[in-house]
């Protein structure tokens, strides 16, 4: 996306802030943190999006010292995503990851709160909102671990898959929104609009990720919306015995049905709802980013549909 180039300076400033803080920690924590960040920012394609989110958001708020506030909140986002990623990876791969990373994660979490408290000051409502955000996040993670781990049986919870709940895992992005709302003393409507944007964007992201990562998710027993639909189809049509679907069955189910297109359609619907929620606030960059995402989701639907139909034609002939 061309406009990422407009933010080279901001990206470098924020990365240098975070790097210099982590470098100042004691060894080996500093080495571990720097090595994690270096690999992470390359491997995560959306890294710059998360980093720049506070800059893009700032266009919609009437506050003093926007550059400084955006930079601090962008720092917060980087610490937030590092904190979440480390926790998630340790939960998913406990035997493979250096557990000292937990210390890095703790420090990152502390930095998130330090930044937001320095910006907002002592404010009971803000603290309450922060607590609610954390509770929602923890509940979503817990729900996922308890109800969406596949052990050969599709449960009722899985069949009624709640992708909106799973979107709450992106909680670190809620904190910059909260911070801007409190700094501006925004009204209730604006608060609802921005949170609605966040929920819709999160849901759209989640569904798209579920499609891109379906193989890894299935192998690790992590149920997602398209996987539930695929297994349900295979079992209902008696194409596999209960609990016996393998990766190739799932791949075939995605060719035989329109499950992937449907999932992408839902993802697109939420992306458009995110655009709608903030359209009255003139957020040029965020809007451009969402529009670009919509185009990419739409073209993925078309591409996949055509590919699927041509494969089916080939095989059936």
């Amino acid at each position: 996306m061309i406009f990422f180039d407009d933010f080279d300076k901001e990206i470098n400033l924020v990365l240098s802030d975070v790097n210099s803080f982590i470098c100042g920690l004691e060894k080996p924590i500093s080495d571990l943190g720097i090595s994690f960040l270096d690999k992470f920012k390359i491997s995560m394609k959306g890294f710059n999006t998360f980093l720049l989110f506070p800059y893009w958001l700032s266009e919609g708020f009437d506050i003093k010292g926007k550059d400084d506030v955006s930079r601090k909140l962008a720092n917060l986002d980087v610490y937030g995503i590092m904190h979440l990623r480390i926790i998630d990876d340790i939960l998913d791969n406990p035997e493979k990851i250096d557990r000292n990373l937990l210390l890095v994660s703790n420090i990152c979490e502390f930095k998130m709160y330090e930044i937001s408290f320095n910006l907002i000051g002592r404010n009971e409502s803000f603290l309450k909102d922060l607590e609610d955000t954390l509770m929602r996040f923890s509940n979503a993670v817990l729900y996922e671990k308890q109800h969406y781990t596949y052990k050969g049986l599709l449960t009722e919870e899985m069949k009624n898959y709640n992708y909106e709940l799973m979107a709450r895992k992106a909680f670190h992005l809620r904190i910059p929104i909260l911070s801007y709302l409190y700094l501006e003393e925004s009204d209730k409507k604006k608060r609802n609009d921005f949170f609605s944007m966040m929920e819709c964007w999160g849901t759209s992201m989640q569904l798209f990720n579920d499609i891109l990562g379906w193989k890894d998710d299935f192998t690790s027993g992590q149920m997602t919306y398209p996987l539930v639909k695929a297994i349900e189809y295979l079992e209902d049509e008696n194409l596999v015995e209960t609990g016996k679907a393998d990766t190739m069955d799932i791949a075939a189910a995605f060719i035989e049905t329109n499950i992937l297109e449907d999932t992408l359609d839902i993802s697109l619907k939420y992306q458009k709802m995110a655009i709608e929620s903030i359209k009255s606030y003139n957020l040029y960059y965020l809007n451009e980013f969402f529009e670009d995402a919509s185009i990419k989701i739409y073209s993925s639907i078309e591409k996949f549909k055509n590919k699927r139909e041509s494969i089916l034609k080939d095989i059936i002939n």
Binding site: S43, F50, R85, D89, N93, N209, K215
Partner: protein
């Protein structure tokens, strides 16, 4: 879909190097990072 066709589609899928063609090319959107890069092998 009948079971025979399902098995045919599975065979076809296997012959095309596993499940590669059921995957979408990753666009530069927001993709979650997979941990593989920092896992100790």
């Amino acid at each position: 879909m009948d079971k025979t066709t399902h098995e045919l589609i599975k065979e076809y899928t296997a012959s095309k190097e596993a499940t590669a063609f059921v995957n979408l090319k990753t666009p530069d959107l927001w993709i979650e990072a997979k941990p593989a890069l920092w896992i100790y092998e």
